[in-house]
Amino acid sequence: MTRKLCALALSLAMLLSLAGVAGADIPSELPRNETLYFAGQQWGAVLSWNIFGANQNNSLVIGGGAASRVIYFETLYMWNDLDGQLYPLLAQGEPVWNDEGTEITVKINPAAHFNNGEPVTANDVVAVWDAHVKYQTGTGVNGSTYISAVEAIDDGTVVFKAVLNDEGKPINPLELPNQICQLRITSAAWIAALDEKAGGDQDAFKNDPAYDIVASGPYAGSYYTDETKIVLERDDNYWGVALWGKLPAPKYLAHIFYADNAAGRAALEAGEVDVSQQFNSDVEKMWLEKGLPISTYIDEPPYQLGLVQPSAIYNLNIPVLNELAVRKAIAIAVDYDQINANAMTHQSATFEQVPRSLFNTTEGQQAAYDHDAVKDLQWAGKDIEGAKALLDEAGIVDSDGDGWREYNGEKITLNAVCPNGWSDWQASMEVVAATGKEIGVEITTFYPEAAEFYAVFQNPDQTQYAIYMQSIGGSGPTYPWNSIRQAMSGEFVGQQNNGSGNWGQYVNPHVDEIIAAIPQTSDEAELKALYTEAVQIYLTDIPSFQLMYRPSLFHTVNESVWTNYPEQGDEYGYPPNDLTDGYGVGALYELELVNP
């Protein structure tokens, strides 16, 4: 009796605490074969639906980089990580540069309408942009460096005007398509209403949770969210039937907020999750040993599409790291196979498969530079003898016989740092530290909490962290140029709160010239020469070095309920973006039930 009472009280308490935010008529039990479950995209409760806010923590709805998450809000174009092209979504046809190369014209798909039935027009695009600029959002502040104005020519045509340099050219032509494909569109009327409600107050405008925001995406039908989950319902009146030919297969998209990777992984194995964006260590054991219907985009190692390069950054404020011999010795001595096998559990391409440059593993980026020209500079790792010889040659030796080398009479002690809880990064730092022991340079690992980590390494004068991890590279209209910039650009030197690039304070004016030249260059051969030279400099000076390749989204699926997910070499060619981002969203339309 007491037990029953207890249970009743308990459920009641939970109901009260879970005062969820619901749109309309989502059933209290989601039919399993109409729902697609995600894991690893969203952690913790949703804070806001406001695309102008700064801290929505609503990543199933507002997320992604150049390949934007387009299931709720939509962008004009979808980025495809595989071929590096933009595909029209709300737009119709290609973005068109004018003859002077100073502005881009985009046509809007006349079929497009919002979930309230209103058509999507050029005015909506203009209103979104103007609100970003007016309310100084991240997009507005950052984007207006490159875009001077967005104007509507008529209801169906919008023009993005570039900010020009002294020579009358855009200061960075790569940034225009980059900004355009990340611009989420909501309606001008909704913005005007919020504007009025906020009365011009910036915080009021940005902090409005925007539960009623208008969107045009396939899952902008209705939603439910509380402390533990979010559910999006398909808009059966979605305009995109005109574009895709049909509605996406699942009626609901749902995401449980798992406490950690272990919980999300268990749910994936139990078939409670269909698409997992988590790093699942030893993922192949799920099908090889347990026989579960789980698969990744690629059947063989590296299983995932490597788009970014987690790298070890050398802090050049530390005198001993200004010695090229030391930088090179550590870089060539590290056992990258060990990192791949034990930290990434074989979910990274090896440096034999994709030799180190500055670029990710996609064909497009690999074609950017001349492989033969840098062949002699690329190293495979685990070259302990070579590293020792380098150090000996530079006069950095162990003179007091304690097993550790000295520099200027003092024992070299370096730390290898990354945020606590980032397991594969931490494991990589352990391997780097183990390398130090073998070449007589003491390296100790250090895992501060993320908050502390960012506070320290973003200070340009810091000497607390010697070797620390950051990701270089990515996928989007500004890449692979942006990879070079992140690795070596002088613009970041001495900058406070620098989270953007060249954290180690590397200075090389010649590289800065290359970085300035690439966006303005259109000749293929000339571009290739510039990229090749940048890679040569990078591999010679070693201001940082890649430890592995890593996907920007992990893509692991369970086929207990749904099947026909994207896989390498299939007939559809959708990138493995968890069916939510950029061009990868197309895979949602091809899903089929295993047992219809």
Binding site: L288, A341, E449, Q464
Partner: protein, 417 residues
């Protein structure tokens, strides 16, 4: 004192606990002699190798003498291992989905099945109703089928360093065996490897040593602090008592564990050696010892011999040392054991949260647990990477608690059964 020890040695509980602890200590001390080298060496390229005997394939093929043993059923065993019944069912399922009539497939007739398979299977086909995971598993079965029925000899070729020619140096028939004891390089991994490819058994013992050390330091600090403050507070009373109890209360209202986390965090991992972590644990866990010692002291302070001592003008430290301490000594020893125990647990919990001692030199039990969980050992069935750690912590604290119970019975005869 000697009397107490003799009594203690008669207590079964105490002796069992004591023997357990000593056994653990001996293992910790002795095993490294047989298996030298750093417990943190990453020997395995890959995660969570299973426990067992690892023999060098290279040595087995190159140097170990081979023997011919005709063992019945070896071939059948190999075939079963390569193509178990479940795989044959999978083949059948694929064939059916591909359009082969179900009665044309006989999974028990291996020859027939293989023939049908070789003539039908197409790796690029995507028969309707089959998931990608299933198609891929069938492709793996297909790859394992070659040479299944007529075992081909395994041939070993080596490249001549001068000419670059490939020469056959060994040819291995399916009835050839080697004697494991004649293989030059073998390694017994009692508990397999962890996620870094470290020898988990060796690491476990090294970690136990460190954890015991941390527990001991933490326990000593906590007990010393608790004893001192408790004696002062209980004996002197008044304002001193109020102030000490104020601090004790302060440590109670901010939960010890949260305090521990915040302090460990503030120190920063850079400074967090094993000793520092032990000291931090000790400094945050003195409170209950203080309270108990205080209570005991209060009950003692008005005894006649204490009053006598006070009247004789003895100094405070002397009174505490000669008139109070001996009466609560037994209690303090028990408190110490409990503090050591909770020190070990506290370290383990801290490390589980990633706030333990910095890691490059020494493993600790908590850290092993942390990495095991981080790399999903419990979900991969890699019990050896986390369960022995739990068991070890439980064993250490069990044996200490047992010793404590034994002592309790010695000091409080009523408890004896």
């Amino acid at each position: 004192m000697r009397n107490t020890l003799r009594q203690a040695s008669h207590s079964a509980n105490f002796m069992i606990g004591f023997v357990l602890i000593i056994a653990i200590l001996i293992m910790v001390g002795v095993y490294p002699l047989f298996n030298p080298g750093s417990p943190l060496d990453m020997i395995g390229l890959g995660t969570f190798f299973k426990p067992g005997m690892y023999i060098s394939m290279y040595d087995a093929a190159e140097t170990a003498p081979s023997y011919t043993l005709r063992i019945d059923g070896a071939a059948a065993k190999r075939i079963d291992a390569k193509l178990p019944q479940s795989d044959r069912e999978s083949m059948k399922r694929w064939l059916t989905a591909y359009g082969v009539p179900e009665d044309a497939i006989d999974v028990d007739d291996l020859n027939d099945l293989l023939n049908l398979w070789h003539n039908t299977y197409d790796e690029d086909a995507r028969p309707a109703g089959l998931t990608s995971a299933f198609r891929r598993s069938v492709a793996r079965i297909d790859a394992a089928l070659d040479g299944l029925l007529e075992p081909l000899d395994v041939r070993v070729y080596t490249r001549d360093p001068q000419s670059g020619e490939m020469n056959e140096t060994a040819r291995i028939r399916d009835d050839q065996f080697i004697n494991v004891s004649e293989v030059v390089t073998t390694r017994r991994l009692w508990l397999g490897t962890d996620n870094f490819g470290r020898d988990a058994f060796k690491e476990l013992l090294a970690a136990t040593g460190v954890s015991l050390k941390i527990g001991l330091i933490a326990g000593l600090i906590a007990t010393a602090l608790g004893l001192m403050l408790g004696l002062l507070s209980g004996f002197v009373g008044g304002l001193v008592d109020d102030i000490i109890m104020f601090f004790a209360n302060l440590f109670t209202v901010i939960p010890g564990f949260v305090l521990l986390i915040l302090i460990s965090y503030s120190i920063g991992q850079e400074q967090r050696g094993a000793t520092v972590v032990a000291a931090v644990i000790g400094c945050t866990s003195w409170v209950w010892t203080t309270r108990s010692v205080r209570a005991q002291t209060i009950s003692l302070r008005n005894r006649d011999h204490v009053n006598l001592s006070r009247l004789s003008g003895h100094t405070l430290p002397r009174i505490l040392a000669t008139d109070i301490l001996p009466y609560i000594a037994s209690y303090v020893v028990m408190a110490l054991i409990l503090q050591i125990c909770s020190g070990i647990l506290a370290e383990a919990q801290l490390s589980m949260l990633g706030l333990g001692p910095k890691t490059t030199e020494t493993p600790t039990l908590g850290l092993m647990m942390f990495w095991g969980m981080t790399y999903a050992a419990h979900q991969n069935g890699a019990w050896w990477a986390y369960f022995p750690v739990i068991l070890m912590i439980a064993l250490v604290s069990f044996s200490m608690n047992l010793m404590n119970t034994g002592l309790d019975q010695v000091f409080n005869p009523q408890l004896r059964s």
